[in-house]
Amino acid sequence: MSHKIRIIILSILLILIFLFFYKVLLSEKTYQPRSMIGKSVPEFSMENFKDINRRITNQDFSTKEIVVLNFWASWCVPCRIEHPMLNELKKKYKLFLVGINYKDNASNAKKFLNELGDPFDAIGSDSKGEVAIHFGAYGIPETYVIKKNKIVFRHIGPLNQDVVKAIVALK
């Protein structure tokens, strides 16, 4: 085999490997957006932020008609910005809100809620970020809407009035 052919084979092989990993990297399955839409809520079990003796699992909400699930943390600045919108979803639209406190310090998180209000019906603490991986969370804040145990909507980044409208429209 001449050098040329070997080099061509090598190049093709490496390009294929590159494309494969590139596809994997950018694919939805690398815990990235969209893929969870239409799928069932992944199984999880977390420490309960409000009641240490009980844990929060996906089973707790499986019977709920509609659940808004929000990943947040006290150290996350955009979470402060979106917090009034969460309060609005609770107070004005009476939605069932679940907060997932992502890689946070419990006392800071409590201070955050005391200061800005606590719109959540339940809070789980995802101290290792595992639940976020199961959900394919891209970063925080991030919000999911779950309808009859299926994820129907997802928003990456802080909520705004348009997104609030879109969420309310799902009711």
Binding site: I7, L10, L14, F18, F21, L25, S45, K103, N105, K128
Partner: protein, 625 residues
């Protein structure tokens, strides 16, 4: 302040490195040499990377939360030891360590007795690697990024990571992984200058053994950590990240042996060169898989596709040029690449093929699920069954070749002595196996074959030792092979004869299964430095043996997390292992997991023997040189 210094040292290191590459290339094409200058520049790069590393350690030690990496991974209440180990427990810090080891190997290599042309071309290639990773570090994963305003407290470190073994296993793995970079650079230099000869093999062998030994220690420590800390009741889980370290280990074990063949017979240089390239590229691939967030495992680092893309591109570029040099400068052996089948060289090559087969099996098992998931959105999980089914039968054949390889000669074949050896070893093995199975009272074909052939290897090694006039001759090989025999033996026994009991139990209750009796005596509460603990006291009876085990649940305060601490009683014949399941309470009962794992201790002893063999070789080589 520290951040500014740290950043500056990294940038100075980058500039120096760039200058080194530029100056070397210029002189290379002018056919002049400026080796002294390259040597100094190379040292300076190492010094500045080292400085950056020390500054990072310092930031962690004093809990400088204005540093983003410290803020995200440390906490002021953490013991000093874990503060410091936290510096390489995250992506940014571990990349600094990665580059530091690249640079240290480069500097150490400048002291080797290799001919100047070859030596400095190796250092040039090594500095190209340093360049790629310094750029990656500074521009995508800067460890000295500042956060403003400075937070009052850090976000802590995962408590499961607060373990001495865990803290020290990554540096060992890194010295292993990254150590292969110098062999890679040396191989490329050897190929390029067409000096891939017996002398090359001789000079490379010390570096190969050093990197291989560190990698083995790293994998061993990781495995011990998984067994004692993770509480999964085993020592190897075919976790994708474990596999990512096993792949270069297999490649390097093949390299170690093929290099010996090249050194002794002046044959198969191309194969040795290919393995040298393969070992480092698979190490890089492992780094990529772990860092890109493609793999989901206990080891998962923060996932960031951009970083992944950069490392991927770097691996492709490095691999392309490495294989290009390999193709263009394909090394020719002075001897024809033909061996007598019944010779030590061909047995080593046969086992090389097995290693590569194992490598492919592990790689496919790790990557195929990712492949299916990404391209066809199908999820499958590849578990121990796949690996056991594919690896175990071939492992048995490997053991036979491993037993006989060292007993054969390099150049000539003595049929009678081979037949004599086979008969002798087979007889002794059969007798030992019968005794063992009489004691075990358990039989299955694969277990029998596994036990038979591992004893076969052990006995072959013992016979070989006794045949030598001087015991210390081939001591390194004999100890490592002996260790490997014991390892396979223990793994087979462990896999087939482990017992597991999963039951709910309440205080005062006693549970009996076969010969084992578990009595739940009481519960105690205690307070650790940064955790609260609930300890369960159990009395275990196995036949005439009785002892206490006290597994516990720990609640760490920062960040709040509950971990299950296992309690283990080790004996020479097996471990008794008890753990409380997290968060599975049924009324006043708790769920416990009890395991009896035969010969666990021997798995650690055998890995230590394999490592010990490597160490002996390193110190021998040093004396020789």
């Amino acid at each position: 302040m520290i951040g500014t210094f740290g950043n500056s040292s990294l940038i100075i290191a980058l500039l120096l490195n760039f200058y080194l590459l530029f100056s070397y290339s210029l002189n290379f094409f002018k056919k002049k040499n400026n080796f002294q200058k390259v040597r100094y520049l190379n040292f300076l790069v190492t010094v500045f990377v080292f400085l950056a590393f020390i500054l990072l350690l310092w930031s962690f030690a004093i809990s400088d939360f204005s540093n983003t990496a410290v803020y995200q991974n440390s906490h002021s209440q953490k013991p000093l030891f874990y503060k410091i180990s936290g510096s390489w427990g995250n992506h940014e810090g571990s990349m600094v360590l990665f580059i530091l080891i690249l640079a240290i190997f480069s500097s150490l290599f400048s002291f080797s007795g290799v001919r100047d042309n070859l030596k400095y071309l190796t250092i040039f290639f090594q500095n190209i690697l340093i360049l790629f990773f310094l750029i990656f570090l500074i521009f995508t994963s800067n460890p000295f990024d500042v956060i403003r305003p400075t937070p009052a407290e850090g976000l802590g470190l995962n408590p499961i990571l607060q373990d001495p073994l865990l803290s020290i296993h990554p540096p060992f793995l890194y010295v292993g992984y990254v150590g292969f970079s110098i062999i890679f650079s040396f191989a490329l230099a050897g190929l390029y200058l067409e000096e891939f000869t017996k002398l090359w093999s001789k000079q490379a062998s010390l570096w190969i053994v050093i990197a291989w030994t560190f990698l083995t220690v790293g994998i061993g420590l990781g495995s011990i950590w998984a067994y004692y800390e993770l509480g999964w009741g085993g020592f190897w889980f075919w976790d994708p990240v474990e596999n990512a370290s096993l792949v270069p280990w297999l490649a390097s074990t093949a390299l170690l042996h093929s290099n010996i063949t090249s050194m002794k017979t002046e044959k198969f240089f191309s194969w040795t060169a290919l393995l040298a390239i393969l070992t480092f590229t698979t190490s890089l691939l492992g780094t990529f898989l772990v860092r890109s967030g493609i793999l989901n495992s206990v080891h998962a680092f923060a996932n960031d596709p951009d970083r992944g893309l950069y490392i991927l591109a770097v691996i492709m570029i490095i691999s392309f040029f490495a294989f290009l040099i390999f193709i263009l400068k394909f090394p020719k052996s002075p001897m024809p690449n033909v061996l007598i089948f019944w010779s030590r060289g061909s047995f080593i090559l046969i086992n090389n093929c097995f290693m590569i087969f194992f490598l492919v099996v592990v790689m496919v098992g790790t990557l195929y699920p990712i492949f299916l998931d990404a391209l066809f959105e199908k999820s499958i999980s590849v578990g121990p069954n796949y690996y056991n089914a594919l690896l175990a039968p071939f492992m048995i054949v490997l053991l036979w070749f491993m037993a006989h390889g060292p007993l054969l000669e390099w150049y000539k074949f003595n049929k009678q002595s081979l037949i004599k050896a086979i008969l002798q070893i087979s007889f002794l093995t059969l007798v030992s196996s019968i005794i063992i199975f009489f004691y075990l009272k358990d039989f299955s074909l694969l277990l029998f074959l596994g036990v038979f052939f591992s004893i076969y290897l052990i006995i072959a090694v013992i016979i070989d030792v006794f045949k030598q006039k001087i015991i210390s001759k081939n001591l390194a090989r004999n100890i490592s092979h002996f260790g490997f025999g014991i390892l396979v033996f223990s793994i087979f026994i462990n896999a087939y004869l482990s017992k597991e009991i999963n039951v709910p139990i309440k205080v005062g209750q006693t549970i009996k299964q076969n010969a084992i009796e578990i009595q739940f005596k009481n519960i105690l509460k205690s307070q650790g430095k940064n955790f609260e603990e609930i300890i369960g006291n159990f009395l275990i009876k196995d036949g005439t043996r009785a002892f206490e085990l006290s597994p516990s649940l720990r609640k760490y305060l920062q960040p709040v997390q509950v971990t299950s601490e296992t309690s283990i009683k080790s004996t020479l014949f097996g471990d008794y292992y008890l753990a409380i399941n997290l968060s599975e309470f049924e009324g006043d009962k708790i769920m416990i997991r009890f395991y009896h794992k035969p010969l666990m201790l021997w798995i650690w002893i055998s890995i230590s023997l394999i490592i010990f063999g490597g160490l002996i070789r390193i110190f021998r080589k040093q004396n020789e040189s």
